[in-house]
Structures are given as C-alpha cells and as structure tokens.
C-alpha cells in the first residue's frame, strides 16, 4: 500500500465531503430564507441567489478542504446569532474521516449516503425555531488542534476564533447520522436549553 495513494483517495472523500458541506450549509441557511432551486447529487437543493452569499459559503466550505484532508476537523457548525450576539441555534456536522480505508469506497456510494442528509435537511424546517429579528449567522469549524499559522495558503480564509458557549448544556436534536467506514458524519441541531432560552427571549419582549 502506497501511503501517497491513501492520501489521495482520502482526499477524494474529503473533496466530496466539502462539496457536500457547501450544499448542506446552504440548505441550512435556506431553511430561513428564499433560495433558488438547483440540482446536486441528482436531487433538488437550494442555492443562494446572492453572489456574495454564495461566495461566502463556497469559500468557507472549500477553505476547509485542507483541514479535512488532514483529518483536523472535528465539527463544523452553522451558528445563528441573535441581534445581541447570542447564538440561538447551531447545526453541527460532526465528522470523522478514516483515511486508511477511504480507498475502498466508491464515490457513488458515498454520494448516495450523503444524499440522505440533504433529503432529511430539506424536510427539517419543523425542527428549527423561528428566529428573532435581524439575526446573523456564521460557519465555525472546530479543529482537533490548531493548524500551524501560515502552513498553507488555503487555510488563510479561516481565522481562529473564540466560541461562545451557552451557560448550560444545549438541547440536541439529531437530524441524520451516517456511520460507515471512511466517513462518520452526524448532523444534529443544538438549541439553548429551556431555561436559557427563556432568559434570552425575555429581554427582547
């Protein structure tokens, strides 16, 4: 077995995954707003109409590729913040890539598996909470370790950041899980726990 080969095929999985993330992030955001319909993996998905938004999502996802390839990324979160910068809702992709057996998987199979996420996402509007006015959102990636600064050009789009946590552990709603050899991917939704949400909503009222 050639280690180089492994990396490359691991890269294939990573590439597919990143591409998928881009679409999935868009889907998540689209649960909140109007988007145009496109086809990906042979199914209808949403795509941002605004070019800058599209760019943001694209660059965020593709900027992750080097990290995903190295197996650094532990979670990718799409976080919605309320006006006062308190996160309201978080979609979390928890992923694990096993590069050593990535070779044995056909891309078609992987796509097939990832497609189920998109299907589930497209019907998960009922899971999300209505957002307060003038929210913003961002994509955050949780890495297993911080990459060396300037180690690669690609990584520059991503900047280190602090993450805000809720004071209490959040409430989790699983959306979809994929547990297979090269890739374990779980998508779940985090909301602030009840008491906190109560606090959060109150000042707005």
């Amino acid at each position: 077995m050639n280690p180089k080969d492994e990396n490359q095929s691991g890269g294939d999985v990573a590439r597919t995954l990143v591409e998928f993330l881009e679409v999935a992030i868009t889907m998540i955001v689209s649960l909140k707003a109007a988007f145009e319909r496109r086809r990906y993996m042979n199914m209808v998905v949403q795509r941002a109409r605004h070019p800058e938004l599209r760019d943001y999502i694209h660059s965020a996802a593709s900027g992750l590729l080097p990290f995903v390839e190295k197996g650094l990324v532990e979670r990718v979160a799409v976080v919605f913040f309320s006006e006062d910068n308190v996160s309201v809702e978080r979609f979390i992709f928890k992923l694990m890539i096993n590069t050593s057996c990535a070779a044995s998987v056909e891309e078609g199979q992987l796509e097939f598996a990832l497609k189920s996420f998109l299907i589930k996402l497209s019907v998960s509007k009922s899971l999300v909470k209505p957002l307060p006015q003038s929210c913003r959102w961002e994509v955050t990636a949780y890495l297993r370790s911080l990459p060396e600064v300037g180690s690669s050009k690609d990584g520059e789009q991503w900047i280190p950041t602090d993450t805000k946590q809720w004071q209490k552990p959040p409430v989790i709603t699983p959306v979809k899980s994929l547990n297979s050899e090269p890739l374990c991917l779980q998508l779940y939704l985090e909301h602030a726990s009840f008491s906190e949400r109560h606090n959060l909503v109150k000042p707005n009222q």
């Binding site: 042979n42 409430v171 989790i172 374990c184 726990s193």
Partner: protein
C-alpha cells in the same frame, strides 16, 4: 408545460407524423383515434374512456414516448457503427428512482444495445425493474410493487454492457431484497474474480424475495462450466503450442486450421514446408504480386523471422498458425526495438531522473553556440553482435535476415561493411543480395545477445555522461556541453574504445554543435571512426551535402527539391526562409532552412514517456473468415495487454489500424508481405482506463466490425492504446476490503509475535539459543501463514486458528456476525472465551499478549513458555477454566526447566483452543506430546475437557453478567446474543422483542424498528407477573444501555429515534414506563458525555 403541450398536439386529431408512425408500428391499432383511446383504458389503470381523461392521455403519451424511443434508438444504432451487439434484445426496463448511472444514461444504453426503456411501469411491457434503492414500504410490499418482475440494480446493465452479453440478473438483485449488505463471504467465495459486488452472494436467501437458491446455484454452475470451457481452451492452446514447437516430425495439414490432422510421415524440412505453404496460398488466393509496401520500408524491413537453422517448423500466416501473433512478436526485430525502449526506461530512467536535468531546458537554449553533442552509433549492430563470437565471419560479407530460404523473398535487415561493399543494403531482398554477392552469409537474429550488448552500451554511456538520449538500442545522443574539462573528441574515443572492449562491437561517433551536425558527422565517420565538425566547419561540411541525407527529407520532399534544382544543402541555403515556407509549408520550410545551416533547436532529453502503446502486425496476415479475425484479434489484444502491463500503464483510447489491400494491388513480392495497402484506422475512447485483455478484445472486435471489411482483403492489423495513465495510480479505486483483510491481519500478527519473542528472549538469556531456534521456526510458520491468508481470501476461509483475535474484536458487530456465520457460529464462542479469560486473567502481566495472540499461538512453544514463566498468572488463568485438571498443575514448575518445544502436558494447553483446531491439527498436536504424558492425557482428557468446555460458556455468561461485562457482548453475533436470551426468558415482552428482531433485522439490524413494532402491538404486554417483571426490566435496560453505548459514537439519530419511541411506549405501558425512567437519565448522560448536550424531548 412541455408535457401538456405534447399531449395537445397529439390530441388534435393526431398530428400527421405521429399517426403515420403509429400505423407503421402497430398496424392492429388502426382505428380512429377516439376508438384507440377507448381501447387504451383497458391498459391503463384508469377506467373511463373520454379523451380528457388521464388514462387515455397516458395511453397516447406512452405510445408517443415509445415512438420517440424507437426513432432515437434506430438513429443511434445507425449513427455509431451498426455493429453494436443487441445484447438487451427483449429486455425492457423501467427505472425506479435515483440510480447511478442516471435513468437518462440507462435509457441511452438501452437504445444502443437493442433494449427497451419504459417511462411508465406496466406489467405487460416491462421485463425488469431497475433501481438502486427502495423505500421500506415497497420492500415490504414487493409483489405489489414489482408484480413479480425482477428488481435489479443498475450495475446489471453496466456490467452486461461491459461483458457484451446479457448477464443473469440474479446476482444483481437489489440488495435490500436480498440482504442488507454485500456479504463478506463473497470475498471468500471461490467464484469472485472480478469485483466483489459482481460475485453472487453465497448466502441463504430469504423466503419472501421470490427467488430461490436453485437459481443462484445454476448461475454459479454456469460460470463454472464457462471456466471449464476456458480451461479446455487453454488446453487446446497448449496443444497448438506443442504443435508448433514439435519440430520437424509433425506438420499440420496445410492451410486448414480446423482439420489439423497431423501428418507424421511427412518429415519435411523448413524449405519444403515454406514452398508448400506458398503454393497453398497461391492456389487459394492467387494474389501474388510484386510491389513492396512503403510502410515496411519506413519501418525498416519487417520481421517475423524463422530461424535459419531451421529447427522448428513455423507456419507463416494467420491462416496456418494459431499462435501466429505470439510467434510473430517473438521473432520480430521491430518488436525487439520497441520493447527494448521500455527495458531501457526501466533500467536507466530512475537514475537520470534522480539527477534531474534541471538545467537542460534553458541551458542548451541559452548557450546554444557552445553546446557540444556526441552522436554515437554501433556499427551495423544487428550483424556485428551476432558475429562477434564467430571470428571466421569477421571479414566475410554477412547479413542478418529472418529467413534464409532459397526463394530469397525475405528482406535483409542489416548487412556488415564487407557486404555493403558489394552493394548489399538493408531492406534488400535476399535474392537480390545474393545476386550481388553470391558468398553472402545470412545469419539469424539473436535477440538475447542484442539485449545484452544494448545494456552494456548504455551502461558505458551513462557512466560517462549524464545527459543521454537513447534513440534506439544501438544509437544515442550525449550532451557533453557541461563537461568542459574533457575534450569531446577524447571523450568520444574513450567511449568508443570502451564499447569495443566490453561488447566486441565497434561504434562510430559524430561530434557537433547540434544534434543534427552530430548525426551527420557520424554518417561520415562510419565505420568505426569518429568525426568532429566544429562550428567553423559546418558550412563547409554542409555545402556539398546532398539534401536527401538530411533527416526529415524523404524521397518525396527530395524530389520536390530536385525539381527546383536544389541538390545540396549549399543550394538550399540560398533560398530564403519565407519562400521555403511558402513552398513546403511552415514547418517543413522552417526545418529545411535551419537544417541547411546546421541549426537544430532540439536538445538532448531523456527518453520520453511513450504516448501510446500498441502492437501491429502487417506481415503474414491472411484471413479466411470472421473466425480467423476474431482469433487473431484475441492474440493481438493479449500482446497489447502484456505490453501495457509491462509498462505499468493503462489506457483509455484504443485505435485499430487496418491495412487493406488496394483494389488493384497484386500479391506482394515479399513473401506474405502486405503489399500495396490502404491504411484505415478507427478509435474509440472509453471512460475507464484499462489494460484488461477482455476489454481490449471486445473493443477491438467492435472496432474491426465497424470497418465493414472483407476479411480476405486485410493485410495488416494494429492496435494502439493511448491516453495512457500509470496503472498503479488508478488502481487505488479498486482496492477493496479484500486486500485489507488479507494484508493487515498477517502483519499485525507477526508484529505481535515478535514482541512476545523479544520479551521472552530478554527473560531467558540463558536459553538464548533455543529461543532463537524457536523464533526462526515460528517466523517460518508465520510467513507461511500469511501467505496462506493472502491466497485464501480468494478461495476459502482461513482456518479459525489463523484469525487475529484483536482484529476480530475490533470489527464492527455486523461484520463480525457475518464472519461468524461463515465459520458456522464458532467464532463467537472463541471470542467469548477469550474475553472471559482476559477478564479473569487481568492480574497477570501477560494479559495483553494472551488476549491478543490468536488461538494457535497458545499452542506454540513460546507462548507456552510465557505461561510457564509467570506461574502466578498461570494459576489464576487456569483455575476458572480447567479446574478439573488440577492434578496436572504441578507440572507448571516443570515447564520452566523444559527445553522441549512442546508443553509438557495437556494442562498447559488451552483446551478451548484445542477444541477449535481442525481435526488433523489436533491429532498432530496431541501426537507431539511427550509419550509419558500422552498416556495419561491424550485419550480421555481431551474428550473430557472438550465436553466440559461445551458447558463452560453458560458459566462464563453467568459470571460475566455479575461482573458487568463488555458493553458489546449482548449485541454480539447475528442474531445477537440477547435474542436467544430473551427468547427463553419466559417474559412475553422480551420474547416479542426477540421475535420482532429476527423479522426486521435482516433488512436493518437496528432496535428502532423493533420498538416501532412494539408500539403497534402494545396491547399484548400485560401479563407480566410481578416477580419476573423486575428481571425483565433489568434485562431490557441492559439491552438498551448496551445498544446506546454501541451507537452513541456514530449514530445518535438511531438513539434519538429509540428514545422517542421508548417515550411513546412508556405512555402506554407500565413496563416501558419503568424502563424509560431508568434509561432516560442514562441516555442524557451518555449524550452529554459525547456531545456536550442533552437530547431534546419533544
């Protein structure tokens, strides 16, 4: 929008064209449109007649789609080549849902290969349903969905196309109907050659899928018989080979391949046979003619030589020799040159690459003036190599030729200088050469010697210079520009001397500022000389040089130049570049202009990666019928495939070149030559690069078919593969679990063994020698083992004792249970025992070693010794397992002194392992015990202990339950352990769980479907009596807890589902309410631990 428009147009009393085609296709349907609609309603599921109705609309639409399909299909099949085999004749598919390839592609395939594609399902017209995934509801109600039609994966179509025949659909049945996953056993089953998916899964089939094992059996059988047929073919081939090499005693009946009766009386020598063959050809085809082929010329006379010594009778055309292609290439000089390049690349490419001619590009361009290039060429290579050891021939005229028959129609491939003095030239017919020089000696090729000399030649060149461009096996350019300290002339003579000394062949060298000048200089320097053309002398040299000698100036161009009254380079130089380019084209003009000035922009570069690989035969090609062609193509493809594999390349584009006799061309003078031909070529590009013989054969047959030729006219066939890719790079995709399975365990095992050994070695330094012996012995056995394993994965299961326990334990439960199935359930017992043992044994320092080495290791000398050394651990270890053998325990002390490789008594042998061993091995092991021990133990003890072992697992389970055993154990196996346990529990809820799990687990081994069933049948759970209720609740909680732990890492979706289902159950049943109350905090805690949050409860 489009659809409704379409229906409208056909609606308006029928658009004319539509109606016409309808008439054509379906004459019985010639009614008025209205009536047709009426009739349609019987077909569609909608009953009402009027046109506005959906059913009639569908009818019309279906018919229209059908017509469209047909017209398109006929268009494509004409468009491509018309020779596509209609493999899907009679197959009509309906594609359901998302598929890979998409339904559009599938439709295209069906069009191309004679099948039908239905847009709407109908029991009547559809023969196969294609889908890759089915919703659960359809799986359950399969008959309602499929109406008994086969439901097949799209790969069936793809594979059928690539096999170019309709494959049986049975192995391609949808997995969901068949089983959840491709079985691991498919990897082990003997029939699985190509891809694991294609192998028919050797499993028990489900009763409700509607296809029986018998069918599967027959498909396998069919495969077998095919293999058998292949074998027969091979044998036949073997016979043919024998025939051809069977020397003079046997000769095949002339001409006819089929009636290959041997004729032993006819002991004929080579010449007679040749004559016969020729006459045969004349009588059958009367196509002898006297024109030589240009391509032959350009190539330097073609080969296909017979040894002049005449030791073998060879047949000389595709008509006589079934192994013609093979022999042809075996004897071809061009083939030698072609494949030599490869050899060279492999031999030297690494070294030149390592040095990296980083500067070669710009450097030579910048300091063009100063560069010095040596062109070195072995003098009449093909002759001098052959005669170097035959001193008597040195001064005689000698020529190399593949044949020395008196007819003299063979071409001379190379002649030495004495022969050249008589005017003998390469490419000349032997007959003519003998006219010029009657004493000419003809010698055959000696390819081995050529190879050796060529290697020596390049070894020398590479030693002296790092920039070597190999032109051929006997000719190369050296760039010596940066070797400033050495005079190029001196260097050239050194090299030449060295070549003469090492190889015994003389070489000539030309030195010049450009590759062109060096080459021209060599021409003058020959033979065995060298010439340096310095920059000042270039003009002088070129002035009188005839234009024809410039490389790139062939006879046609030369004639054109002569017409313009240009004979020498000097005259050529007088003409401006512009007018040259105007007269001869931009490139040729440029070339002429610069060559006439001695300029040459090319620089010495390493051998380039070849852009294409192929093989061509244009000598001796004569076909009688299609069958000959097929056979020939097969052989040619084999050759090409071998060459591809030799270069480790795979290619995507395949070009078939055909030489077709020109209409008015007569039979060529050259015996079996190709004569005057039209050159035709066609190519095809496939999506996936390959070097597979079968694919090549199929493609080449297809291409050949597309020429639509009379096979009798074919004089040459070549197959070229381009768009090459490195083979190892592209293999990555096809690497499968198979290789992983076969390689990983073996290596892991060896590593562990070494660890064991090193530990032992350290402890027993006094017994070093002995241990070393043991190591080597075990190493041996290990290597044997691993080789067996890798070999076995294709054919049969490795014996259980070869399995690596650690690997097994880390396998996902599903995989493990599948493996267990293939071992007939014994695997679990083994694992369970191991597990129990480890638990109990955890005070011993050697736990990990004991646990991880596979069963067999315990029987091997050294691990036994470990037992002996750690006596304390040993005791503990033995106690729970074989307490009845306490009498033998005293011998543990004894082992420490033991030098015998075998343990002293059975008490040291893990009986469970012994039990698992195959019969013969067990006998061997028992036989290997010292005699006095055997007396007491061999006969009764093993039997006794074996029996005890059988009872053991229950005890183990009992203790495990108390200790809180490994969290996965209830979920071990297929079906998992708990199902069995719950079944006999006596509690109806648990029994229900067990039963339901059996039902659903085959499609999805999950708990959530079981819970779902439980909800629908909640009514039956109420008879639990109070005393066993607690126990049942405990059991249920344990089951769920273990399940949650199992799933929490990867599948919280499933946990969430179970959690919510449990909640719903809790609302209806007291039993589940208790379970829920116990489990709820547990679930939340587990989730919190892993995800830092709690599950939301709706």
């Amino acid at each position: 929008m489009k659809r409704s428009f379409g229906s409208n147009s056909s609606n308006n009393s029928g658009s004319g064209s539509n109606k016409k085609s309808k008439k054509k296709n379906n004459p019985s349907n010639q009614k008025t449109l209205g009536a047709a609609w009426g009739a349609a309603s019987s077909r569609s599921s909608f009953r009402s007649a009027p046109f506005s109705d959906f059913g009639s609309y569908m009818e019309v639409k279906n018919r229209k789609l059908q017509n469209q399909f047909e017209t398109e299909a006929s268009a494509t099949s004409h468009g491509v080549s018309g020779s596509e085999k209609l493999i899907f004749q009679g197959v009509s598919i309906f594609v359901d849902g998302f598929t890979i390839p998409s339904h559009q592609e599938l439709k295209g395939y069906m069009m191309k290969y004679g099948g039908r594609f239905e847009n709407y399902f109908s029991r009547r017209s559809v023969t196969h349903i294609i889908c890759s995934n089915l919703p659960d509801s359809k799986v359950k109600n399969l008959r309602a969905f499929s109406r008994g039609l086969p439901v097949v994966k799209p790969t069936w179509i793809v594979d059928s196309i690539s096999a170019n025949r309709l494959l049986g659909w049975v192995p391609y049945q949808l997995d969901q109907l068949n089983d959840t996953q491709p079985k691991l056993s498919a990897f082990f089953s003997p029939g699985s050659h190509l891809t694991p998916q294609m192998a028919s899964p050797v499993t028990s089939c489900q009763p409700d899928t509607g296809y029986s094992e018998a069918e599967e059996g027959s498909s396998i059988r069919a495969e077998d018989s095919e293999e058998a047929r292949d074998n027969v073919n091979d044998e036949i081939d073997g016979v043919f080979i024998e025939n051809t090499t069977a020397e003079l005693t046997e000769e095949t009946g002339t001409g006819d391949l089929k009636s290959s009766e041997t004729n032993p009386e006819r002991l004929c020598n080579y010449d007679i046979e040749e004559k016969e063959v020729t006459s045969e050809i004349q009588s059958t085809t009367n196509l002898h003619s006297a024109s030589d082929n240009k391509s032959f010329h350009a190539n330097g006379k073609n080969a296909g030589k017979a040894t002049v010594a005449g030791s073998s009778t060879r047949r000389h055309s595709t008509l006589e020799d079934p192994n013609f292609v093979e022999n042809y290439f075996k004897n071809s000089r061009l083939h030698f040159i072609g494949t030599w390049r490869n050899r060279y690349r492999k031999r030297f490419h690494g070294s030149s690459n390592g040095l990296k001619w980083a500067d070669s590009g710009q450097n030579t361009a910048e300091v063009d003036k100063k560069s010095t290039i040596i062109h070195i060429d072995l003098d009449c290579f093909f002759v001098s190599v052959v005669i170097k050891n035959r001193l008597e021939l040195h001064d005689k005229p000698v020529a190399v030729c593949h044949s020395d028959n008196p007819k003299g129609t063979a071409e001379i491939s190379s002649a030495n200088y004495p022969a050249r003095a008589y005017g003998v030239k390469a490419g000349m017919f032997v007959r003519h050469a003998k006219d010029l020089c009657p004493q000419l000696v003809i010698v055959p090729y000696n390819f081995e010697a050529y190879e050796e000399v060529a290697d020596q030649f390049y070894d020398i060149l590479h030693r002296h210079c790092r920039k070597v461009q190999a032109l051929s096996c006997d000719e190369a350019f050296l760039d010596v520009s940066d070797l400033r300290d050495v005079e190029p002339e001196f260097l050239a003579s050194t090299i030449r001397n060295e070549i003469l000394e090492t190889t015994g062949c003389s070489a000539s060298a030309g030195i010049g500022g450009t590759m062109l000048m060096a080459r021209l200089a060599t021409r003058v320097a020959k033979p065995a000389g060298q010439l340096y053309i310095s920059a000042e002398k270039v003009e002088e040299f070129l002035d009188q040089l005839p234009v024809g000698t410039l490389p790139g100036v062939g006879s046609v161009l030369k004639e054109k130049l002569v017409k313009q009254n240009i004979q020498t380079c000097g005259q050529l130089r007088l003409i401006s570049k512009d007018s040259l380019q105007k007269d001869f084209g931009v490139k040729t003009g440029e070339m002429l202009w610069s060559y006439s000035r001695g300029l040459d922009l090319r620089s010495v570069t390493a051998v380039q990666e070849s852009k294409s690989i192929g093989a061509e035969v244009n000598w001796g090609v004569r076909f009688r019928d299609q069958q000959d062609v097929q056979h020939f193509l097969q052989c040619l493809c084999k050759e090409v495939s071998l060459r591809l594999q030799g270069c480790e390349m795979i290619g995507r584009t395949f070009t078939l070149k055909i030489k077709k006799r020109k209409k008015d061309a007569e039979e060529p003078t050259k015996y079996m030559g190709c004569g005057d031909c039209d050159n035709l070529s066609r190519s095809i590009t496939v999506p996936a690069a390959t070097d597979d013989v079968e694919v090549l054969q199929r493609i080449s047959k297809k291409l050949f078919g597309s020429f639509c030729l009379d096979v009798k006219e074919v004089r040459g066939v070549g197959l070229q593969v381009s768009k090459l890719d490195s083979a190892d790079l592209s293999n990555k995709g096809s690497r499968t679990l198979k290789s992983w399975l076969s390689s990983a365990p073996a290596s892991v095992q060896i590593e562990q063994d070494d660890n064991v050994f090193s530990a032992v070695v350290r402890e027993n330094s006094d017994r070093n020698r002995h241990v070393a012996g043991g190591v080597s012995r075990l190493r041996e056995s290990n290597s044997a083992e691993s080789s067996i394993q890798s070999g076995d994965t294709n054919s049969s299961l490795p014996p259980m004792c070869h399995l690596d326990m650690e690997v097994l334990e880390n396998l996902p439960p599903e995989l493990l249970s599948e493996l267990d199935g293939t071992y007939g359930g014994k695997l679990y017992e083994l694992i369970e025992k191991k597990r129990g043992k480890r638990k109990i044994n955890n005070s011993s320092p050697h736990v990990s070693l004991d646990g991880t080495t596979a069963g067999i290791k315990e029987l091997k000398p050294l691990s036994v010794k470990i037992h002996g050394l750690s006596t304390s651990g040993e005791k503990e270890y033995k106690k729970p397992f074989v307490p009845h053998l306490s009498t033998a325990r005293a011998s543990i002390q004894h082992t420490i002194d033991m030098t015998d490789l075998m343990p002293s008594s059975l008490s040291q042998v893990d009986v469970s392992v012994l039990q698992e061993l195959p019969e013969e091995l067990r006998a061997d092991v028992l036989g290997a015990f010292p005699a006095h021990r055997r007396q007491q133990s061999s006969s009764d003890v093993p039997m006794e202990t074996c029996k005890k072992q059988d009872e053991e697992p229950i005890d183990i389970k009992g203790t495990e339950n108390e200790n809180g055993f490994s969290y996965r154990s209830l979920w071990f196996g297929n079906p998992p352990l708990w199902t069995e346990k719950f079944k006999v529990s006596g509690n109806c809820t648990l029994e229900f769980f067990s039963e339901t799990y059996y039902k659903v687990a085959q499609s999805r081994p999950m708990l959530s479907p079981v819970l779902q069933h439980a909800i629908s049948e909640i009514g039956i759970f109420h008879d639990a009596s109070a005393n066993d209720l607690d126990e049942a609740i405990n059991n249920m909680c344990e089951l769920l807890k273990q399940y949650i732990k199992l799933k929490v890492e990867g599948d919280i979706e499933e946990i969430y589902l179970c959690f919510r289902l449990l909640k719903r159950l809790a609302a209806r049943s007291q039993f589940f309410l208790q379970v829920y109350e116990i489990l709820s905090p547990f679930i939340q805690a587990t989730i919190n631990e892993h995800y830092g949050g709690s599950l939301s409860i709706p």
